[in-house]
Symmetry: D2
Subunit: 333 residues, 4 copies
C-alpha cells in the first residue's frame, strides 16, 4: 500500500502519521519526491483502514498495490486449478456442459430429463431443491425431498449433481451432492462461505447481481481461507439499465477471471438473459471466449415448468448447442 | 395481473392459454378491445411465472397491477407503524437519533461513548459485534463478547441497543439486544429473514447496495410473513458510478417508502457517504425530508477506531447535529 | 397504450379522464373487468404524457404496448437491412472487419496501417480525426487534416472509410467519408442526429455509456425519421461497477437488436474492454453470437499511439483474429 | 501522476520506460522503496495515456494525484464564485428559487405563471423552448418563438430568465436570455461546451444521467477553458436501478461539489424525482444540505401541461415550499 502526502505536510505531521502506522504493525518506507512524499507501507497492511487513511487532511491519496485475494490469485498459483467431479474435469481446457431443470419437480421428471441431457452431451446434472425466491408467497422448492430425487437421478445416469444451498443448517442434506452452489444473492453471505470453507467438496459461487469481479474473488477467498480450495466461479449476469434481458451477461468476466485467478469459470446463459431465445447465441459466445463450462436450464416442457420456464430450452435444442460448442472449441484452441 | 394478447392471436391459441392459466388456479376475465384483447387474471396470481407468460409468442405484454408486498403495504394498513423500544417510539413523527461506534471495541469504550451520545441527544445505542467484512483477513468483530459489552453499556445508560446479526445460529446471543439489524449484504438472505420472522423483536433491515425499494419491501415481507411485524427500514446508500462518496445516499427513498409502506424509515448518513465531512449535511437533509430517525457512527477518537474511522464523527459534532435537527423538525411539521 | 383504473374510481372520474384523453386526440375503448377497468387508448398516443397519466390518483398503472421506434422496428420491416459501402455489404450475414488506428496521426501512418489491415482481412478502414476527449487539455485530433489523410489512405487501398463527426458544422469535411460515426457521448445529441437524417450516407451510432437498447433504437429513429434509413448500430460497452475492464461489453445486445430491428449490429471490442489482451476473446465471442461486423483498433506501434494504445493490437494479431472469426462463422451458419 | 513498477522490473526495462516518459515531456523522479519502485511524473502529464501506461507489463499500477479540472477546482480558487444575474446573486450563501413551467406553451401562459412564481418567491424564471425529447414524434418545443415569449415575461416581471440550448447554431436566439442551460443529455457534447466557453453569459450545466461528479466538473472545465468562468452546476438525478422515482436525486453531490469546486450548485427536484408529490420533501432536503438554489417546475394546471405535468406543482404549493426553505436556511446558517 502506498500513501501519497500532500505537498505542504510538515515534518511533525508526517512523523505523527508514521508513528500511527507503525502502531498498526506495518513498516513505513519514505520516498521523498520533488512534489510529493510517498510512504510505502510494507507488512500486514490488511489491518489498515484505507478509507480512514484517505480521509486524513495531510494525505493526498492512497493506492493499494496488491490484490486483496491471495489464495484465488494466479500470481501465487500460476497453474490452472482443475476440479475433478467423478470422471469430469472442470478447468482442464474443455467446456463442460452442466444442464437440467431450474427446479427439481418430481423424481420422474428429474430422472427423465437427466437421461435426455446426458444423451445430448451434458456431463453434470443441475436442479434446485432449495429455491431463492423474491417473495415469501412463491414456490420455495422441494427442499430435502428434491435433493433425494436428484440423488436418484444421479444413480440412474451416473451424472454428478450440483444444487444450491441456502442455509448452512441444511449441509447434512448435501452429503451426496457433488458440487454445492452458492446463489447470487448469497455471494456476500460470508457466514455461509466460511462454513463451506470447512468442507472438502467443490463449491460453485455465482456472481452477485451488482458485484464486481474483485468481490467475487473475495467470496472465493472466504471459502479458500478455510482450507477448501475447490472453488468454481460462475458469471450469471449483472444488473444494468437494460430491460430487454433479465440481466446483462458480462462475458469479458471470462478472460478477466482467467487472468486474475487459476480457478475455473462457468457461464450461465439462462439466468443471465432470462429468455430461451438468447440461450444459444450467448452459449456460443461464452464458448468462443474460453469459458470452462456452461450451466444451462433444460426442461422437457418449458411452458409447464414450476420455475423459470421462460429461460429453459428443450433437450433437442440443448443437443444442437452442444454440437456447435464442440466445433467452436476446435477453432479457438 | 393483466396479459395483453397480440392482435393476430387465434381463438384456439387464446383458449389454450386460458386453460393453462386456469390450471394454475387463477380466474381469467376477457376484455376484447378494438386492437388488443386483455386478459385480467384474478385470484392467487403469485404462482404465475410472469417471465414465462411474457415470453409466449401470442402475449404482447404482461402488467402486474398489485404490489407483491402485502403486510408491508400501506394500502392495507394506512396508519403508521410505531415501534416501541423501551421508552423510545420509532415512527411517531419524531426523528430518533441512534448513535455509537461502528464496532464495539472494549467495555470501557462502549460505556464511555454510550454516556456521551446519550448526553448529546441519542436515544438508542448502536455498535457492531459481528462484523461484515469484505476480506477474511480483516477484523471480524468481538462477536458474543461485544454483545455482552453492549449490554453493559445499556445497563449503565438505560439506552436501548441495536446490533447486527450475521447468522441465525447466533440468535441466542441477541436475547437482550433491543433491535436486531440485518446488514445490506444480507438483505436478500431469505433464510435469515424467515427465521427473524419467528421472533417478536424489532428488526432493522438495511437496503442492499444495488437493491431497489420494492426488493427492500419484499425483504420486510419475508420477515412479516412469519408473524413479526416490527420491521424498520433503513436507507444506507446504493452503489452508483460516483466515487467521491462511498455509496450514494438515496434520500428520495424516505418519501417513497413512506408512501408505499407504514413502516418507519431510518437513514444512515455515515455508511452511505463514507466520510465524516458529509455526515452533517446529509443528516440535516434526511431530517428535512421526513426520516423517522438517523443512525450515525460516533467515536471518541475516530483516528484510532478499529473500523470506519473515516466516517465517524466525535460526540461534540453529534451534539451540534442533534440540535439543528430538532430545529429543522420544528420547521417542517 | 393501456391505462388500468383503480377499483374505487367513480363514473364521474372516469368520464372526466376519458374526456381529457379524447381532447388529446386518442380514441378510448373501455373494458370493464371484475376488479379493474382497463382503458385501451388507440390512435396517435405519442402526445400522451405517460408519466402524467400514471401520476393521476385514479390510475393504477399505464402500459405502453407498442414500441416507440417505428422505422427501426423489425415488425414493420421483417427483412434485414443490408448497407452497401463500395463493394462491402453490412448486414448480409457476413462479419465485416473494420480496422485501423484510434486516431489518424499522419498521412504516412494511416496509409501504412491501411495497407496492413487490408492484407489482414479488413474491409473498411477506421480512424478518428475529430476526437471526443474528456479534458479540454488533451489531444483533440487532427480534424479536417486528419480526414484528408484518411481519404488519401482510401485512394491508396480502395478501402471505404469511417470516421466520427462531433459537430454538424463539420459535415462538409465528411463529403468523401463513407460512413459517418456518432460517438457514444453524442448518442442523444438529437440535433446532430436529426441533421444526419437529412443526408443519404450510412451513419453508425454507438450506444451511449449508460443507455439501454430502446434508447439506442430511438437514436436510430431520430436519423431515420428524417429519411436516412442507412443506420448501423454499434455496441461498444456500457458503464457498470466493474473496474477490471474500461466498460462492460454487452454481447446480448447482438441477438436482442437483431430481434427488435432489421438494422445491422457491429461490435467494438477495443473501446469496450479497454485492453488489447481482451480484444481477441471478445471478438471471437461477438462473432459467435452473430455480430454483423467488428470494429477493432489496430496500430503498428501501440506504445507510441497518440491515443488508446492500451486497447490497440498490432496487424499480425488482427490477422490471426480474422482467421479464427472466419472459421467460427462457418460453424454457426 | 505516480507509476508503481513491479518488483521484478529490470534496470533496462525501467530505463526504457523512463526514456519513453521523458519523450512525452514529463520529468521523472525515481523513489526506490523496499518492495516497489515508484516513478513520480512531474510536468504536463495530461499528454500521458494513463490506460496505456497501466497496461504495460512492468507497471503495477498508476495513480493520478491531481484532479484533471483546474479552473473549476477550489484548490486554485478558494473563494466561492458568486454569479450575478440582474440583481440576483447565485452562490452567495442564499438559496435562489428558480421556477416556471417545463415548456413555454404560449405568451399568455408564461407571463401568467411568471407573475405567480414571482409573487411566491421565485427570483429567476425557467421555461424550455427547445425541448430535448426521446422520440422524434413528440413535442419539440416552440423554439425561437418560445424564447421570444420568455423575453416578454421577463419584461413584464423583471425576472431574469433561463432556458436550454440544444445546438450552438441557435445561439443568436439566446441573446436576451440571462442563463443558458445545457441539458443532461448534452453534458458531454464537448463541441457545444467549447462554443459556450467563447461567450460571457452564465451557463448552467446539468449532470448527465450516468455521469459522475468528476465528469460534471470536466464539462464545466470545457466551458471555463474557453474563458467563460460563469458556470453553474446542477444536480438533477442520476440513473439507478430504482423505478419508483424517475431518477435518483444524489444530494450528497451538493457538499461534495462545494468541497471540490468554487462554483454554485443548484438542485432540480422536479426532473430528478419525476413526481410532484416528492418535490417538497426533496426541496427541503436540498435546502438543508446547502444547495445554492433550486430549480422547480411550476404550472398553473399540471394536468394540461404540454410536458412534464407529472412533476409540476402549482404556484400555491411552490409558495409554501419557499417559506419552509427560508426557515430551514435560518437553522443551518
Amino acid at each position: 500500500m502506498i500513501a501519497v502526502l500532500k505537498p505542504n505536510t510538515t515534518i511533525e505531521q508526517r512523523s505523527h502519521l508514521i508513528d500511527w502506522l507503525k502502531g498498526q504493525n506495518v513498516d513505513v518506507h519514505i520516498s521523498e519526491g520533488k512534489e510529493y512524499t510517498v510512504l510505502g507501507l510494507v507488512g500486514n497492511t490488511s489491518n489498515i483502514d484505507v478509507e480512514l487513511l484517505q480521509s486524513l487532511s495531510i494525505v493526498s491519496s492512497v493506492k493499494i498495490i496488491s490484490e486483496p485475494f491471495k489464495k484465488a490469485n494466479r500470481k501465487f498459483h500460476p497453474e490452472n486449478t482443475v476440479i475433478n467431479v467423478g470422471d469430469v474435469k472442470i478447468g482442464d481446457g474443455s467446456c463442460v456442459m452442466i444442464a437440467g431443470p431450474s427446479s427439481v419437480e418430481s423424481e420422474e421428471q428429474i430422472i427423465d430429463i437427466a437421461k435426455k441431457v446426458k444423451a445430448a452431451g451434458a456431463k453434470i446434472l443441475r436442479g434446485s431443491a432449495f429455491k431463492q425466491s423474491g417473495s415469501p408467497y412463491e414456490f420455495q422448492g422441494l427442499k430435502a425431498d428434491g435433493i433425494d430425487m436428484l440423488i436418484e437421478a444421479k444413480k440412474e445416469t451416473g451424472l454428478p449433481i450440483i444444487s444450491e444451498i441456502m442455509s448452512i443448517n441444511d449441509l447434512a442434506v448435501f452429503e451426496n451432492v457433488d458440487i454445492i452452489q452458492v446463489g447470487a444473492r448469497n455471494m456476500q453471505n460470508t457466514e455461509l462461505l466460511k462454513e463451506l470453507g470447512r468442507i472438502r467438496k467443490p463449491v460453485l459461487i455465482k456472481r452477485g447481481l451488482a458485484n464486481n469481479l474483485k468481490e467475487l474473488l473475495m467470496s472465493a477467498e472466504h471459502v479458500m481461507a478455510g482450507g477448501n480450495e475447490k472453488v468454481i466461479l460462475c458469471e450469471r449476469g449483472i444488473r444494468t439499465f437494460e430491460t430487454y434481458t433479465k440481466n446483462t451477461l458480462d462475458l469479458s468476466a471470462v478472460p478477466v477471471l482467467h487472468e486474475l485467478s487459476h480457478l475455473p469459470v462457468i457461464v450461465d446463459p439462462s439466468r443471465s438473459t432470462g429468455y430461451s431465445k438468447y440461450v444459444e447465441p450467448m452459449s456460443l459466445a461464452a464458448a468462443a471466449c474460453g469459458a470452462d463450462g456452461l450451466m444451462i436450464e433444460v426442461h422437457e416442457d418449458p411452458m409447464n415448468a414450476l420455475s423459470d420456464g421462460a429461460s429453459s430450452i428443450d433437450p433437442e435444442h440443448f443437443a444442437r448447442i452442444s454440437d456447435k460448442i464442440r466445433m467452436i472449441r476446435e477453432v479457438i484452441k
